[in-house]
Symmetry: C2
Subunit: 349 residues, 2 copies
DNA sequence: TTGTATGCGTTATCAT
DNA sequence: ATGATAACGCATACAA
């Protein structure tokens, strides 16, 4: 049916193995026969069968992408397309293909990953999130299957290749910034507390408060999904408090939009009534009203570096685990404002 | 190394072929042995090798995604993640996997598609754009390889399965809308003129003008990339005209943002000085200032329906080509305003 | 430098 | 109801 290596061999008057060698550009084949074989390939429109090749080779020339929830969920947040952009550039360079798992529940995703891995569909995996005690990561570790993590593992930092920002420091910087603006009641709107990135940033936030002798109030800490809706939920809870915060550290721009929208529905003004800083610096951050002050975490680069590391892991059998810290920086826009001095004034700063 | 069907067979005291039948849940195997085999599979943590299966089967249980330019380019526009969301839901239901081709130039993408197809990596292809005289589409047609097109083919409409909006009518509606607002000088900011969607909408726009006895001016037609930058370029050209338009039909929200931004840099007000309507109704449309009046083309559904069709094409050998028209509707926000009556007043409407 | 034979892990076609 | 065996298309160790 489809043309195989044998057809080419026949046409070029050589053995199939010779054709195979020509494909691999084996130096021990004479230029003459190479040319002859290549002509035959061109003429017949031959293309190698990947499945057969993978089978004989045990390599698939493809890497798998694992997102939290299936693509139809994750892609709601522009974070993922953007990491994938970074990944894609390097994957393309290496002539690899990209494979996306689909699955709604954690169980389904886990199954999908097992199938990818054991089924020999992919040579390596990129884990695009890091959560506490993740089955999938445990599985990969145990299997000693090449993978890189976008994010930080909770433990085994030394043995797991991972690429992230210094989220502890980033959150601390942000809180410091808010405090320097005179804010003392700062809310934290984060993602699931099972996400390591949430944990890290919460720690950084806490550290900042403590170093400024500010109280750390549990009721200022909210955990929601990284979506607009999450932000809406969060801000409702916070504003219902007896003493609502005057500033917010929001972990995701999308959430921040939810916050902004709800606040404006409540007739509250950002930044006059409340200041907001968030993370990711998505394109939307520039377009919202007011412009959103946001931490640019270099999402693209996160993906790019992760792909580079994974490729190393795949090609160099005894590559040591790596850790790459991608720089971040605060982009100031119009969502923050200095607070007029408090009456209670503990005089900090 | 990895556990194969043979290991399972040995452990369950059956032949490999029997194990294979159990996997396929062949009814001619007794429940007893099925149970025994399954226990062995569980115990050994067996997972079938996809490559071997595909090889024997000539089916990959995967479909390929083809975007204009590689992911790292295309994903700059939220359109693509959103179509993929739609695709992903149905692909996941059918337990298929998703392959993404990577490639920068048209040549590279073409090569990638050939490799996917002839290499047996995928059982079908989703073409996420439609351009005039597209090599890739021609190749797929010629190969009679199952594929569905998101968009409309320029010719062979009857024989190519495609999913789109009625873009002619949509653009006509939009232009009518602008005209009903009193605008007579309406600019058209579109994508590449090689894209069928551009062609269709341009036709609809023209039709609207003509039916209202309004002049169709070449210099009001701009073609740029579907990115913010494209919009910036476009509006600069238009505003440099002797009689710049008072209203714009912009083909993409991202472009529209570019337009908005540049206009505001020029100290021009939307909608007071100029009205803007665009397409796609991305999340950003709601967040921009002013809120962007945009045509919701149901991107998610576009992807969803396309995947459904492709699955039919794959599973039913003699499935006829299909055409699905996804509805659209105009979402009015604040970027358009009625024009005060013109002095020259041809009195239309 | 090139050809021969074998294996990669499954499925499918015969048998029994 | 189950087993033996031959593909599937390619790569590679071993010969020549």
């Amino acid at each position: 049916m489809t043309t195989t290596i044998k057809d080419v061999a026949k046409m070029a008057n050589v053995a199939p193995s010779t054709v195979s060698r020509v494909i691999a550009n084996n130096p021990r084949i004479s230029e003459q026969t190479k040319r002859r074989v290549r002509e035959a390939m061109d003429y017949l429109g031959y293309h190698p069968n990947f499945n057969a090749r993978s089978l004989a080779n045990r390599s698939a020339q493809a890497i798998g992408l694992v997102m939290p929830g299936s693509a139809d969920k994750a892609f709601q947040n522009p974070f993922f397309p953007e990491v994938i952009r970074g990944i894609s550039t390097i994957v393309h360079e290496k002539e690899y293909a990209l494979y996306m798992s689909t699955g709604q529940t954690e169980e389904e995703i886990y199954e999908g990953v097992m199938r990818m891995v054991q089924g020999g569909r992919v040579d390596g995996i990129l884990l695009l999130y890091s959560s506490v005690d993740d089955r999938i990561m445990n599985y990969l570790v145990e299997k000693k299957f090449p993978f890189a993590l976008v994010g930080k593992p909770l433990k085994d930092e030394q043995s797991i290749t991972h690429i992230d920002n210094d989220n502890f420091q980033a959150a601390r910087d942000v809180a410091d910034y808010l405090i320097s603006l005179g804010h003392e009641k700062i809310g934290f709107v984060g993602g699931s507390s099972r996400l390591v990135v949430t944990i890290d940033r919460l720690l950084g936030y806490e550290k900042s408060l403590r170093s400024h002798q500010l109280p750390y109030r549990e009721d200022y800490i909210i955990h929601e999904e990284f979506l607009e809706k999450g932000g809406q939920e969060a801000i409702r809870k916070l504003m219902a408090l007896d003493k609502p915060p005057t500033a917010l550290l929001v972990m995701d721009d999308l959430m921040a939009f939810g916050v902004l929208r709800t606040l404006s529905e409540m007739q509250l003004s950002v930044p006059n009534d409340i200041s907001v800083v968030s993370f990711n610096n998505l394109m939307l951050a520039a377009f919202s009203t007011p412009g959103l002050t946001s931490v640019d975490i270099n999402i693209f680069q996160l993906g790019y570096e992760a792909a580079v590391c994974l490729m190393d892991l795949i090609s160099k059998p005894d590559q040591k685990p790596m850790r790459v810290a991608v720089p971040y920086h605060l982009i100031e826009r119009q969502s923050c404002k200095a607070r007029t001095v408090q009456k209670e004034g503990s005089g900090s700063m």
